[in-house]
Symmetry: C2
Subunit: 309 residues, 2 copies
Amino acid sequence: MGGRVPLGIGDDAALVRVAKGHELILTADLSIEGVHFLQGLHPARSVGHRALARALSDVAAMGGKARFALISLALSRTAPRRWVEGFYEGVRMLARQTGVAIIGGDTARLRGKMMVDVVVAGEVPNGAAVLRSGALPGDHVFVSGRLGLSAWGLRLLKKSSGATGTAASPAIHAHLFPQPRLELGQFLGAKRLATSLIDLSDGLSTDLARLCTSSGVGVRLLAANIPGPEITVRGVSRARQLDLSLNGGEDYELLFTVRPAKAHQIPGRFKGIPLRHIGEIRGSKRLELILPDGKTRPLTVGGYDHFRK
Amino acid sequence: MGGRVPLGIGDDAALVRVAKGHELILTADLSIEGVHFLQGLHPARSVGHRALARALSDVAAMGGKARFALISLALSRTAPRRWVEGFYEGVRMLARQTGVAIIGGDTARLRGKMMVDVVVAGEVPNGAAVLRSGALPGDHVFVSGRLGLSAWGLRLLKKSSGATGTAASPAIHAHLFPQPRLELGQFLGAKRLATSLIDLSDGLSTDLARLCTSSGVGVRLLAANIPGPEITVRGVSRARQLDLSLNGGEDYELLFTVRPAKAHQIPGRFKGIPLRHIGEIRGSKRLELILPDGKTRPLTVGGYDHFRK
């Protein structure tokens, strides 16, 4: 980090510099055993990776650059040393990959469920942050990546009860090691391309509804355009795949809106990640889904129950 | 906070500004049920106050001004609404009193022990932060307030098993609602009076040893000068009071070192808080305690077992 970290872990607090002309982004995310991760299903390295990824994704969703992280870990008294090492390895690998310095945190041992709180500090040029609240009627709605992949990966993991070898599946990999879209967020913010931006942590239906509520608008979502998990397994219907795309959570892709006059500036791919046009923002506050057969139905906010489905 | 908080809770992350020419201080502190607080002993308002105070004290110990806080709360499923309201009331009251804006966090419900993680962001003029590592041989050692009061308050609380009315005791109040010494820290930093600074969270013996280790020095501590809890209860010996002062934790007073030529600039009181000269830094790495009778013994690092003594 060069001269950017005058002081790291070891004093009463960490001391860092924010770049001139930049605002500071701060976000906190809890990851709790039994709620956000399951022992026996999520390897320690994945627990660390996912905990950091959740917070990084919030910074991506502001169009910011992630700079610093504080990791607070409440460890079960029985957690073996190897687990703790694996956890921090997962954190460190993603931190290195995204240019984030781990500058502090806290640790404690407790009886009971483990818990992680990750705080990430990022920065964004003054005024360049992209909020949830800027979507305007007529805006085109875009999404990155494939949706429902993480939820499908979780399903596969549960079936195989965490057996080794299955990590070869792209869906399982997407679930265990989601990639926050930091560079895409910065691109959208720096080029002033997006009027609004949110990350998909709880599923497209839930997070799109949040964006519409914040912006005071509605949406027409084109089911045929939504990039699905592309499951080739026999017996998984198109309707099931659409359900995964709409209601499966933890994809950590970005959902954003763009003025019609600028929509042509959105590339088909950004650094290998497909960007798809999936609908239009409308002045009326209705949330509608246009099915592949042309029929319209209200968009039901499915939410995401993590491990309850 | 005026124009300092462009965006608070409600978007993907919080967006804030750090003052020009300032560095950012970041600190995280976990508070866990059964480790840092006890149900039935600590009222909800005290749990909230103490959780925030711990993190604020870290900012005070850098000579910084606290600006923003993120409160992540993992609540037991059975926690009544009144408890949660009391908790946030405790947080908010201390935040208001210290000029801190609550700008985010996370909440979750879980089976098991409750946990809070508080992250505080503060700021300090470039280069003005006071570290643990700057103590020099010959420096005078100072401490604020009275030491051992919080530990004695905890003892009283346990005896009365949380009975009401006891909050009238200054010791109990010191335990339930400790005051982070933010203004004192800023005064020492801004006037460049302290060569090193640490807050007393785990007890004088432990935290003084930490400061000496960080600075690569030793100390001669004068027992007769240490401001004790001043317990007037019969049967509490001077030795017991000294033990509380040395090894009782959670006083959140400041311990700092000052060049001999500047020692006269340290007032006897700062905004009503007594400041006492309690020893000298030495080049040899020995930690020595001079007893009131003039005898010297090694300073034993007692640590602080929170609720285990």
